[in-house]
Symmetry: C4
Subunit: 273 residues, 4 copies
């Protein structure tokens, strides 16, 4: 994934999502919240957002609420400055600037997750081992996973990203990568679709655990090669049967299988051109 | 948090709790019991207490019962000597003196947890690694986490804190800190509110696991700085939206979301002065 | 616990159980099966037995069935040779000889568990670290936990204990201890009551994990002293409020809280003498 | 297990399955899918197949669907080239060639699992520790567990086995063994019956974890001897009471205990000859 893959050159899959009704996007965002909670990526904290399908200058995210409890009417619309677009009186996530700044810096990014998934945390604080893909399902975290330390430019803080300046610093560290670890805090991940960013966020801790265990077993560790990472990225499509299979399964496990909108349902709803 | 933050200088949040009805405190204590059980901080053993909202010389705690099974009428009222205030015939926790002695020594403390959470235990018995905050959610355990060894002053015991003398020795070791590990046994944590002490007790094992894994990954480990710990303490408020979000989520997971009293409900119940 | 504590010198608690109706023992054995399954001590394999309350020369154990599925009418009565006492046509556990041989060798033992609890297995195959009590709840495994290797006296087998000769070899290795690890296989534990042996079997893996993690943290490890182990044994009573609290909690978690017979129910059922 | 145990010399147990109705095989395959999901061997990905009971030149496997969601009418019939036997319009697993190639190379194999069970992954990428049986329930993985690296013969791929050439390369690496690890991806296991391959796949990660922990405890590790592995294989029968006990238990845990066909039901259904 690179900045070249901006909206102008969006692949077919994205077109479908863009044409889908806003209702479907809301519903998918609720599903994403529930999946991330069920799969232990988020707990009371952590959030997921999606760029507005009709207006790339704003994004959708829940109001301040634990992801597992999010329903459709908890979703609010924020601008790329992290402020509500309409008249929104409900309390918002303090760290919504993570999302705002990444959407601002990366027109190719359609969805963002911020979370504290436990098994990623050690990689943000131990200097000796870099987090890199070692399993095929972890390939989407990309070749390099930079570690952002808020203290580098902001000194002693409460570690939270609570304004655009901090968010932009994080987005700069993320660069064109898919994931940045946040020292002593968690990670931010950015994807080309909601399904992609959820999947990446679920498999990120699994990749982390596998690398940790391999270090304990000892000897040389075989990481995925750059060619393998590229090959997997080339083959990835958020609405392929293979990707859908995971989304369907996780939604079912999270108790919201009934909220699923199958891609072909979306297709059939698209007016014939 | 220091001893200076005694009741006389209690912040606004605490005033609210102090003025709330006793019923709400009972209900919150039941919720705290269920959350600690669901989040694997306690099992059949371990307990949580809260200082009496109307009388700082006594505290509320369940009778001898597994926390998951505690209901409102299982709560008893004990004095700072660990003995029942009224005519109480039911069996009490053997280790209620942990709570009594900490409430006695620390007027700033409003709630106490004692538990055996598994992932804290190794830090009480291995000499090479000190437990310290490495993740932002672990900051509330404070800069220093002393390890109390009952054998130092009491020789060979069954390791339980079964009288005031032992409880006071533990409280002395705790000093003005928020958590003390108890060698070969568990930990005691002390907070400015029930929500704070529950939250600290849930994130304590997570912080412990992260540090353990970081040690395995190797190299230099970045701990939270003193300035970061301070910044987080300054920003903490037990009834902020952010703190409430976790309490609400955990209560919901523990199956007692219907027992929640929202802080604004409390506020509306406070007679206008 | 030593061989001196034989039936003749049984403490008051045991008298109660001995006088309780056979129905209660059957029900408690069903509860024990369910608890061990729920707490991940057994899976499809592993079993628990109790000496017959009226006849010390035989014991009760389920027919060949996964412990979670055991109900009252799955319980069979076997002699100390591991053979059915009555006319029993149902298939029996291949490894019932573990129980038979321990009951035969140890008149003080009233209940036996054999299981493959995962976190005990590594201690049976790695030579560098001996399993010993490091936490107070693990004290009941006793000062020494011998490792029995079936290969020492029986060469290449399928590792199962399928006759009295093998069972007696294991019982000999167990000696007057409470637990023996079985190399590449699991463990056998022996207690003075069903509640005691279940509790010991639940906390054995927890003690093992704590020791494993302490080894990773490094430095000197503080084990429980002999004096502490003795102090805990002296204070132990299977029908104390504290012990009952765990049994009640685990039964409730395992979905069979309704099958519990409270000790005072037992007492009230004992004919007044 | 060796190639000598081909269909012609199938033991009695297999005859029974072969004579059982196709319905029973379909139902058992659904159960196998559900068990593997419940026991965390597969998630959205991974699959299990069984050779057709009436025609060894084809096999049964689900259409592209998460194993937990598989029902009877999701099962399709594929030939040993991995292509559908009949007119099948539904999307198939991309990696069905793993199954096809193993069934083609190994007439003795009646069932195959491919999965990404997390705790096996580290052994595919760390060079210092070989996966070998250390616990009796892990004996069926066999003396040697080869590691197949798709990069050796196919260079940079997306790591998936998507054609017969790749499948045959994997099957060649598997040889006459029961399990091959797939570097950075997962494993393939092959058994003489559906029950056997499911059981092996459930205990494979447990054996891996035990070995990992033993490495951490340090010192010499006692692996199962070749004689012990042989003794266990000799005693194994997929429809013995002991094996059935696990299948029944796992099916019950996975919520499909009602779909079980007891071996004696099968026997009674076999026409008397």
């Amino acid at each position: 994934m690179s900045n070249d893959e901006c909206i102008g050159s969006a692949p077919f899959d994205w077109i479908i999502i863009a044409m889908s009704s806003l209702d479907t996007v809301f519903q998918d965002l609720v599903i994403a919240n529930r999946i991330l909670a069920k799969e232990d990526v988020v707990d009371a904290y952590g959030h997921v957002s999606v760029r507005h399908p009709d207006d790339p200058s704003c994004f959708l995210i829940a109001r301040s609420l634990a992801p597992e409890l999010v329903a459709g009417d908890d979703i609010v619309e924020l601008g790329l400055d992290g402020q509500p677009v309409g008249d929104e009186k409900r309390t918002l996530y303090l760290e919504r600037f993570i999302h705002a700044a990444i959407f601002e810096a990366r027109p190719d990014v359609m969805a963002v997750v911020h979370a504290h998934a436990e098994d990623t945390l050690a990689f943000g604080i131990a200097s000796a081992t870099k987090l890199r893909p070692v399993i095929h399902s972890g390939s989407f975290i990309g070749t390099e996973v930079p570690v952002w330390d808020i203290a580098d430019n902001f000194g002693d803080t409460n570690l939270l990203v609570t304004n655009m300046e901090q968010g932009r610093d994080l987005a700069k560290c993320l660069g064109s990568n898919n994931v940045a670890l946040m020292r002593g805090h968690g990670f931010a991940s950015a994807g080309r679709s909601l399904i992609e960013v959820v999947r990446m966020s679920v498999y990120l801790p699994r990749n982390a655990r596998t690398l940790m265990r391999a270090k304990q077993l000892g000897g040389t560790i075989k990481y995925l090669s750059q060619g393998e990472i590229n090959a997997r990225n080339r083959g990835y499509s958020p609405y392929s049967t293979e990707t859908w299979r995971a989304w369907e399964y996780w939604a079912s496990k999270a108790g919201c299988g009934d909220m699923l909108t199958r891609p072909d349902d979306v297709r059939s709803r698209v007016p014939e051109a």
